[in-house]
Assembly symmetry: C2
Homo-oligomer: 518 residues x 2
């Protein structure tokens, strides 16, 4: 039995048993991962050591991971990368060789190196929204609470892992929305930022809704359906296109998809039909053709007619060639007859927005009195002012099972039900909203590490992908528009809003008095 | 002794001994790398097996790696990623576990799997331009010659490695050009597409001219100077900014760079000066301050004045905050007093052009008669038509030691000297050029693998970086402009141009006759 998203999120930790059949080749989050401890900015190590040497390293701190703006000016993100983050934290360790290297860079004292040697581990708590959750700007996606010298160190690596994978999962979801149910395949390995970006990118793309990937390792490790046709070079290596098609059909009679545009697309379709007839005589069929250049609307319509006339109405038409969500949408509007969309560059690099503005901000810290004091980062840019304190997220649904808004609340606030709830815009006093019953509310964040121990078992990519489909169904269509989508409301609870306002005035007054004292 | 670029390129393989002192922690190209064999598109395996099963696998083929357009509409690229490519090829291998996985995906027959088991290796030749070479669209960067079933397989992984690293090295070079000699530091690890992209990205950024990186692992493995300050969270974790600065100066008295914009930048500079005075009393100095928000021109100028007035004229000003080459150029024009540019997102993702249109194209193949026949890929887009055959590149220099043009020639053409050389535009008949003596010419490609054996010893990143500096000095300033730069001429030799024209007419006539026969 698979729990629905909302059932899952209202379940206690100890009940978090997700039934999840997966082949043995699939990796769970507890598999032995890579040690990424040094895959970080130097300043994380510097600060961690600094806290410790000043006797502050054990003070509890709370950091939030969140992003500020949806990529592609879109309406949402698909959260991904949690499994990688878990793997990273489980494998935190610093070797003697690492310490030796660090001793040579002229930054760390002997005392500092000693502190590093013993300080690289995580004994705190981490809560996060599950992978595959639809999320929005400025709400906490991961909340890290622990001794500050430990919690600080996680920043850079967590951001690199989660930022990248969220970006690709989001792009994949957008592509699938554009494709309106037709399969989208990740063909982007060659354009990814190296092989690891391709590997985790393929996983993220699958989570986001892609039907498969060309990446063989991702197929093997994550159980993603792996797909492929052949390249122009296959055709060019033969003296004639038709010979190359015949050759391919001979070796792969059950998976024969032919690339028809090496020389002349129409002639390529004719040759494919000829080989399709020969396959029929052998009791096999021409599975598909792929068009990789030219006007995909014109060529797909023409090819469809030619295939149908020749009795190949079951032969699929695959298209590739710098596709993105806007082009797919536009090709569909123009009646393109494309059955499968093969997307590379624009998916695997999130071409139009290749970085997510994801950050790791201090939200509360113990100043030595055993109390977590909310902290705020002030900025000239109001959108960059943080929402202070240790927080959680409630998501509201209307009777139609659609998401209607998220509320960031303080950690001790109870889940709202049957009473009206005031919701404040994060910055503007005059912008308020009231959620009136009947509504349903769910808490989004679940425990992942408690006292340094992993308490969450990562679902399989296939299960995460199902959750994305389910959640996209709960999202208003206006939020899925590619141009100028509706803005989903992420508000602050009354309690949290008061804390934020008080902190802001406190620092304003403090700055004034400091300026006066000069 | 380090050979100059041109000396290097006119040297025979066996003499390619680059004196290159490197710390033992640095990795040479022959270090045990990762096995990336399955980090590829399925279709590479499919085609490789297909060639073999049709009895064509051993036929020699020649593939070129090249790109079609400079990123950011720039004037050049800095080639990078060859060391990774070499490591990949040296570690090609398929495991029993891999074969087991592949047997389950429903594509490969038992015979096909047998062929894969024995076929994954490379016994051919690879020539390439050395890392750090300034390169241009449409010229071969890597030339792979070998049995087609082996050579085909390298495509996807080579492109992912070389495309990514070339992109980042190029961006770094552009940033350094904008910074006019001031150091540029890579701070982009958190925005990279995962940790491996950050690691190889840091190497590429350093090669391209960056003075250092924040990435600790890249510092350790590649010997890149590793740099860092502290984050806003350091300041926020203390009750007062000045206490946080004091704390940092106490723990890192010799590396004290203070981030001044957590609350109020001007007040932050005042606090930094105060802590600088306290450091002076202890015989130490305030190394720098960093500004991460606001108008960097205004704040850097104001901070410079404040620091100078207070006797801290040696204290450096570092700046970060969504920097790119255009912003750096503009800030410099407005008199910003920034000593060090810390660049993250825009460098590490090559933000404005996050993918290089790099391709792997079949250039010649043996059809079974023991002769390499030039092949051409025809396209409706003239820029996508390939330059056929096995080729090499000559680079011409004028008396002022400036690059004046590249000539793609057939493999057997001798290096030009003391005679006029005709150069053809790759597509347009009427566009010709003659290189008249006196000129110097150098051959760009060097052997990397011969008969499957690595014959090239990769220089250290520091040596490659020096080569980039040297080559950028040989490049006309008009090619380094960010907006609408001059276009460097990459031409075809007369012999090659004739082959291309003949092949084009051959296929046109063939297409005509095929259309007629319907």
């Amino acid at each position: 039995m698979t729990l629905s998203f909302r059932e899952l999120n209202n379940t206690k930790t100890e009940d978090l048993e997700i039934t999840d059949e997966r082949p043995t080749t699939l990796t769970g989050a507890k598999r032995q991962g890579q040690n990424l401890t040094l895959d970080t900015d130097l300043y994380e190590l510097t600060m961690s050591v600094g806290y410790s040497l000043l006797g502050r390293g054990a003070r509890m701190a709370c950091f939030d991971v969140y992003y500020r703006q949806n990529p592609d000016n879109g309406g949402f993100c698909v959260f991904a990368g949690l499994e990688s983050a878990i793997e990273y934290i489980n494998n935190l360790a610093i070797s003697t060789e690492d310490i030796e290297y660090l001793s040579g860079i002229g930054v760390f004292s002997r005392e500092a190196l000693e502190s590093l040697k013993s300080g690289i581990r995580f004994t705190g708590d981490i809560w996060a929204v599950p992978e595959g959750t639809i999320v929005f700007p400025n709400e906490p996606l991961i909340r890290i609470t622990g001794p500050i010298s430990q919690a600080q160190i996680l920043e850079t690596t967590l951001l690199a892992l989660v930022g990248h994978q969220t970006l690709i999962a989001t792009k994949a979801a957008r592509l699938c929305i554009a494709a309106k149910g037709a399969p989208v395949i990740d063909f982007g390995t060659r354009r990814a930022h190296g092989t690891q970006a391709a590997f985790y990118g393929a996983r993220a793309a699958y989570i986001g809704g892609c039907a498969g990937t060309s990446n063989v390792k991702a197929g093997k490790v994550f159980g993603i359906p792996v797909k492929g046709t052949h390249a122009h070079s296959w055709v060019e290596s033969f003296e004639n296109e038709i010979d190359s098609f015949r050759g391919f059909s001979e070796v792969f009679p059950n998976n024969c998809v032919l690339l028809v545009d090496t020389y002349d697309t129409i002639q390529g379709v004719r040759n494919a039909i000829q080989v399709g007839r020969e396959l029929k005589l052998r009791g096999k069929q021409l599975v598909g053709i792929r068009i990789d250049s030219g006007d995909l609307a014109y060529y797909s319509k023409t090819a469809r007619e030619m295939l149908n006339e020749a009795g190949f109405s079951n032969t699929k038409i695959l298209a590739s060639s710098d596709l993105d969500e806007w082009l797919i949408e536009s090709l569909q509007q123009q009646g393109a007859r494309i059955d499968t969309w093969c997307v590379g560059t624009r998916l695997m690099t999130s071409y139009q927005t290749p970085a997510l503005g994801i950050v790791y901000k201090l939200m509360a810290v113990d100043h030595g009195e055993g109390v977590m004091v909310p902290r705020i980062k002030i900025s000239h840019n109001p959108n960059k002012i943080t929402n202070p304190g240790v927080k959680k997220i409630f998501r509201f649904y209307n009777g139609g099972n659609r998401m209607i808004g998220d509320l960031i609340a303080q950690i001790d606030e109870p889940i709202p039900h049957s009473k009206s709830v005031k919701a404040h815009h994060p910055m503007y006093d005059y912008m308020k909203k009231v959620y009136k019953p009947p509504f349903e509310a769910a808490e989004l964040m679940i425990p992942v590490f408690l006292k340094g121990e992993q308490v969450y078992d990562c679902p399989s990519p296939a299960n995460i992908r199902n959750r994305v489909f389910q959640q996209l169904g709960e999202l208003e269509p206006e939020l899925k528009r590619f141009s100028n989508p509706h803005i989903y409301k992420v508000s602050l609870s009354e309690k949290l809003y008061r804390v934020k306002k008080n902190l802001l005035s406190f620092y304003q007054n403090k700055a004034k008095s400091e300026n006066k004292s000069r």
